[in-house]
Symmetry: C2
Subunit: 326 residues, 2 copies
């Protein structure tokens, strides 16, 4: 009997996909900008996010729920540029973008330019689940958040002192020379968060959430809420979440390009992501990175910036958190 | 001398790309909904648009300028769902989206959820030319339009009686049964406009402009302003502008998918567009079509709906306008 039970258990484990969760806390950070204190806080938040998302996967939950849970933890952490701790627009406001995609159905939800919503990733999920639409923006998206009774927070909740100082410095720099985005320290545009997950049923999901770029013009939207640019998921291929200089990621439709290279060239997740991040984007001057996960649990975390906060938790519960090595 | 002049002229003509402009006025129209009067007005506007854009190409202007010019004519015409004549949101407002992309540089500009701006395609072009960004939305985009001194119009200019009636009917239908988008007559979601062009220098460009869907939720954004979904252009491959049920076009990143099939599978523009419109989207239930043009002047205009307003003008000035045949 014991043997039979063991065999049955083994068979059921074998039939399950190797649950995996990969997260990122943004590309662009450099060693010089990262104090020991900041690093410790970021690592702790990444670990908390991995454990929260993994618990969902372990208990048989969906990759969509795991992605949402992992991102909520990162949005709630002031260490990253999403939710609490998001960067400020030139008007000193927090305008957030997020998206999520279901690899099983190709359904997706996205929000852009939302203010006051505590967890934009939950709003993106609600758009996917409770509207016939993919993308809602601005006041319309906020009204929908109220309809769904999602929590709102006052500006004080989102705005942390470091972001106010960053905005001041960005404005000083902008006043001195032409306000080129390239001239800003990497951390001014870093910190987008994202997650990709594979659940027991073999379904993939991807999600991304961001406050965008410091001193951005009101209404500017980067790649994070753009399905195909910042986020993509397809069970047959891959789940992808991007971070970096969003304009380049939109122009190259980076997340969908990874899927396309895998679909049409039979590229591996490693080859497909290397080609777009280290070759194509690098040549164009597009700074950034991404996390990608295929349906067999293969992971790629390429970035062409000095660092990218990221972490992986595997089916056996082993965790790897890294910043400066892929 | 005459022979030499003739040879030189021939050589210079041969060195030039075969200037071509393709436009659409939206997929979804059915024969029953199209009165002779409406058809005549739409055909006249399409011809005017083709001639205006072609004049730019003929005089050596850029494909970007030709695309912008062709779309301005269609935005100004009340026959289509873009600019004047755009459909109404559930709140009775006009919220417009547009995007444009330069195949030579992969630079792009897009706006979403803008009100009052007479020609959203010109605003998208201004975002591309005069900001480091790709996408601006809502009030931020409108403020930028004022900065650029682009013309605004009052609601009366945009709102035509037919759209008010369509909104009333859409609301009645929504009140009776569940407000499913699928239950609306095709014309309620038809009428997006777009253009793709090839100039003498061999550069491609694409642009798209829309009012979205009748009775849409405020803040809903479809594929038209999403680079990679509704619009894409890459000189090495193709220029694409889409029209249809935007949510499906976003999920499949249709415009970029055409480019990806050509890049990674060496598909022709005909094969690539047929595969996505007549196979993939059709299977998913995604209604719509697209116009596509490659750098050799090959054109494809597939749609899986009863009709799609579209037109082509070739280097020799011949015009073809069609609605119910590709």
């Amino acid at each position: 009997m014991k043997l039979l039970a063991f065999l049955l258990m083994t068979a059921s484990v074998l039939a399950e996909a190797p649950i995996t969760l990969v997260i990122h806390g943004g590309a662009g950070i450099s060693r010089e900008e990262l104090s020991a204190e900041k690093e410790a806080a970021a690592r702790a938040a990444l670990e908390e996010s991995l454990r929260a998302g993994f618990k969902v996967l372990q208990s048989g939950g969906s990759s969509l729920d795991a992605v949402g849970m992992a991102i909520v933890v990162l949005e709630d952490s002031p260490s990253f540029n999403a939710g609490r701790g998001a960067v400020l627009t030139s008007a000193g406001a927090v305008e957030m973008d997020a998206s999520i995609m279901d690899g099983a159905t190709l359904k997706a939800g996205a929000v852009a330019g939302v203010q006051g919503v505590r967890n934009p990733i939950r709003l993106a999920r609600a758009v996917m689940d409770h509207t016939p639409h993919v993308m809602l923006i601005g006041n319309g998206a906020e009204d929908f958040a109220r309809e769904r009774k999602l929590p709102f927070e006052p500006p004080d909740y989102f705005i942390i002192p470091e972001r106010v100082r960053q905005l001041e410095r960005a404005k000083e720099k902008a006043a001195k020379k032409q306000a080129s985005i390239e001239s800003l320290p990497p951390s001014f545009k870093a910190g987008t968060v994202g997650a990709v997950a594979l659940d027991k049923a073999g379904h993939l999901a991807a999600g991304t959430s961001t406050g965008g770029m410091t001193n951005k013009r009101a209404g500017r939207v980067g790649d994070s809420p753009v399905i195909g640019a910042g986020t993509y998921a397809d069970d047959d291929l891959v789940a992808v979440s991007c971070t970096g200089h969003g304009e380049y990621f939109i122009r190259c439709a980076v997340a969908h390009d990874v899927a396309a290279r895998m679909r049409y060239q039979n590229a591996t997740v490693g080859d497909a992501t290397r080609a777009i991040i280290h070759e194509r984007l690098k040549k164009m001057g597009g700074d950034g990175g991404l996390i990608a996960l295929d349906a067999k649990g293969n992971v790629a975390t390429p970035f062409n910036t000095p660092g990218m906060f990221h972490g992986i938790i595997r089916a056996d519960g082993t965790i790897r958190i890294a910043i400066f090595e892929e």
